[in-house]
Amino acid sequence: MADTNTFDLRRYLKGGGHSFGVWAALVIVVLFGLMRYDNFGGAYNISSFLNYNAMFIVISVGMCFVILTGGIDLSVGSVAAFTSVVAAYLSPYGIQVALPGAVLAGLAIGGLNAFFVVAMRIPPFIATLATMLGAKGGALVISGAQTIAIDWESNFTKLGMEKAFGLLPWTIVITAVVVVALWIVLEFTSLGRTVLAVGGGEDATMMMGLGVARAKVFVYLLSGGCGGLAGVFLASGFGAGQPLEGVGWELSAIASVVVGGTLLTGGMGSVAATVAGALLLGLVFNILNFENGRGVISLSAYWQMVIRGGFLFAVILLQSQLTTRTRRAAE
C-alpha cells in the first residue's frame, strides 16, 4: 500500500474496486428521492438530515481509521453517551469550554483503548468492548442515570440552531471540516500512509521501520475524539446529555465503513467512501419517513432496522463477489 504522492481521482473513486458500489448506490437513492418526493431536495430536509446524521458521520470516519489498521472500536457509542453528559455539565461555561471538554473526555477513553491494545496487547475487539461497558457505566454514574439538560442561556445551543455564515448549522460545518481534515491526513501525510500500511501487514510495516505503535495509538485516540465530538452533537441535538443513548452506534458505524468498501481486515479503504456509506444508511431512514408521509405504505420505525440489515447484507454480497474476483485475478 506504499502509494505515491500523486493523486489520481479515477483510482481514488474506484478505491481498488470496492467503494464504487457505494457511490453508485448513493446517486441512485438520491435520484430516487428527488424524483419521488417534492421536498426531498429542499433546504429544510437537507439541513435537518445532515444535522441529525452529523454524529454518525463523525464516528464512522473515526471508526474507518481504526478499521484501516485492522482493529475495531466498539466503545464509540458509549463514548458519545458519556461525553454528551460531560458536554451538558459544561454547557453553562459556553461552547468554548463544553466542546473541547467533551472531546478531551473522548480522547481520554480513546487513550485507554490505545493503552489496552498497544501496551497490554489485548485484542482490540475485547479491549474496546470493556471500555464500552466502562464508559456506559461511567455515563450512568456521573449523570445518575438521568438526562442532563443543557444550559439554554449559554451559547451552547447555537451549535445546532444557529447557521454559520447564514448557510448551514454549525454542526454540519464542523463535521465537514473534520471530514476534510481527516481525508487529508489519510491520503497525504506519512501518518495516514502508515495507518494504511499497518492494516496491509503489521509485521512488514514494523520491519520497514514505520511507527506501528504510533499509528495505532493515533487511530484509537482519533476514534475516541470523534466519539467525543459526536457526544457534543448529541447533547446539542437533544438539548440534553443522554447517558442511555449510543446503544448500537458502534455497529452502525462499522456498517457505514463496510458499506463504504473498507475491508475489515484493514489496509484498504477511504474516508470519502465511509461518509458516503454513512449517508446511504441515513438516507434509508429519510426515504422511509417520506414514504410513510405519502401514506401509500405505512412502515413502522421497526422496519428501519430490518431494511438496514438487508442493505448491509446486499452490500456484503456485492463486496464478497468483488473480493473473490480480484483474488482470482491476482492468482
Binding site: 468492548l129 450512568l140 454514574v141 448500537g248 428501519q304
Partner: protein
C-alpha cells in the same frame, strides 16, 4: 518428566485457575458482607438468572473455538422470544393447547437454527468476517421481532410454557438442570465426538485442518447453528420467566455477557479451545459480580464498570500466558 510438567502446567492453566480463584473470592466476600447470602432464595435467583447467560455462552464458546464470533445472539433471542407467545396465543393454539405449546417451542428454535445457518453460510461460503456476517442479524433480527409484534409488549399466562422459566425439579429451577444437561452433552461433543475434534482442529489451524480433509465449512456452520439454537432456547426461557415478551428488551447486550463469560472461562479468542464448563464458570462469575454489587446497594451501572475490569483482566492473563 517434561511431559509430566507440561501436563501439570496445563492443569494449572492460569486463565482457568484465575477464574476459580475469582469465584472463591467473590463467594467469600459475599459470605462476609452480603446479608442473607446463605439462603435458598439467593441460590434460586442466581440460578434462574445465570441460566440464560450460561446457555448462550456455551454456544458462543463453540463459535469462538472456530476463531469466529457471534454478535447476533441477543437479536436471535428476541426473535425466538417474540415468536413463542405469538404462536401459543394464536387461535390454533387455543383450540389445540398441547400442539400449540409444542409449536411455540419448536418453531422459534427452528427459526433460530435457520438464522444460524444464514450466519454460518455467510462466514464460510461467502468468506465474510464473522463480526460483519453476524452484524446483519444483530441489526435486523430485533427489528424483525418488533415488526412481528408491532413493538407491543405481549403478556400472557400460560403455566405450561412458563415452566421453562419458573418450574422446579428437585427443588431447583428447571433451567438450571437444562444448563447441566446441555453442558454434559456439549462436553461430550467437544471431547469425544468427531465433530468436536474437527471443531477444535479448525480453530487451531484452519489451513491445516482443510489440508487434512476436514470439512471446514460444514464444521463452522455447525458451530453457528448450535449457537443460534441455544440463543433461541435462551430467548424462550427469558420470556417464560417474565410471563411477558418485549422484543425491544429480550437479550439486549447478551452478546457481551456471553463473550465475556466465554473469555473469563478460558476460551481463546484465536480459537482452538472450547472449555464448556469454563463458559458456565464465566457466566456464574459475571452473574455473581452483578448480584454482589446489587445486593450491597451499589448501582447497576457500577456493575458495568466491574464487568469491564473482569474482561480486561481475564484476557490479559490469557495473553500473558501465551507469551
Amino acid at each position: 518428566m517434561t511431559q509430566a510438567l507440561a501436563q501439570l502446567q496445563q492443569r494449572f492453566d492460569p486463565s482457568r485457575h484465575g477464574a476459580l480463584v475469582a469465584l472463591a473470592v467473590i463467594l467469600l466476600f459475599n459470605l462476609a458482607v452480603t446479608p442473607n447470602f446463605l439462603q435458598a432464595q439467593t441460590l434460586f435467583v442466581n440460578i434462574s438468572q445465570v441460566a440464560t447467560i450460561a446457555i448462550v455462552a456455551m454456544g458462543m464458546t463453540l463459535v469462538i473455538a472456530t476463531g469466529g464470533i457471534d454478535l447476533s445472539v441477543g437479536a436471535i433471542m428476541a426473535l425466538a422470544g417474540a415468536l413463542a407467545p405469538l404462536i401459543f396465543l394464536s387461535d390454533f393454539a387455543t383450540a389445540n393447547p398441547a400442539l400449540g405449546l409444542l409449536a411455540a417451542i419448536v418453531v422459534p428454535i427452528l427459526v433460530a437454527l435457520c438464522c444460524g445457518v444464514f450466519n454460518g453460510v455467510l462466514v464460510t461460503y461467502l468468506n465474510v468476517q464473522p463480526i460483519v456476517a453476524t452484524l446483519i442479524f444483530f441489526i435486523s433480527g430485533r427489528g424483525l421481532a418488533q415488526v412481528l409484534t408491532n413493538g407491543n409488549l405481549q403478556t400472557f399466562s400460560n403455566p405450561s410454557f412458563s415452566y421453562l422459566g419458573t418450574g422446579k425439579v428437585l427443588g431447583l429451577p428447571f433451567q438450571g438442570w437444562l444448563v447441566l444437561v446441555i453442558a454434559l452433552v456439549l462436553f461430550w461433543v467437544v471431547t469425544r465426538s468427531v465433530f468436536g475434534r474437527q471443531l477444535l482442529a479448525v480453530g487451531g489451524n484452519e489451513r491445516a485442518a482443510r489440508l487434512a480433509g476436514i470439512p471446514v465449512n460444514r464444521v463452522k456452520i455447525g458451530a453457528y447453528v448450535i449457537c443460534a439454537g441455544l440463543s433461541g432456547l435462551a430467548g424462550l426461557i427469558v420470556v417464560a420467566i417474565n410471563s411477558a415478551s418485549d422484543a425491544a428488551r429480550i437479550g439486549t447486550l447478551m452478546e457481551l455477557d456471553a463473550i465475556a463469560a466465554a473469555v473469563v472461562g478460558g476460551t481463546l479468542l484465536q480459537g482452538g479451545r472450547a472449555p464448556i464448563f469454563g463458559a458456565i464458570l464465566g457466566a456464574v462469575i459475571i452473574q455473581l459480580v452483578k448480584y454482589t454489587l446489587l445486593a450491597n446497594g451499589i448501582a447497576d451501572e457500577v456493575a458495568l464498570i466491574a464487568k469491564a475490569g473482569i474482561i480486561i483482566a481475564a484476557v490479559y492473563l490469557q495473553q500473558a500466558r501465551k507469551e
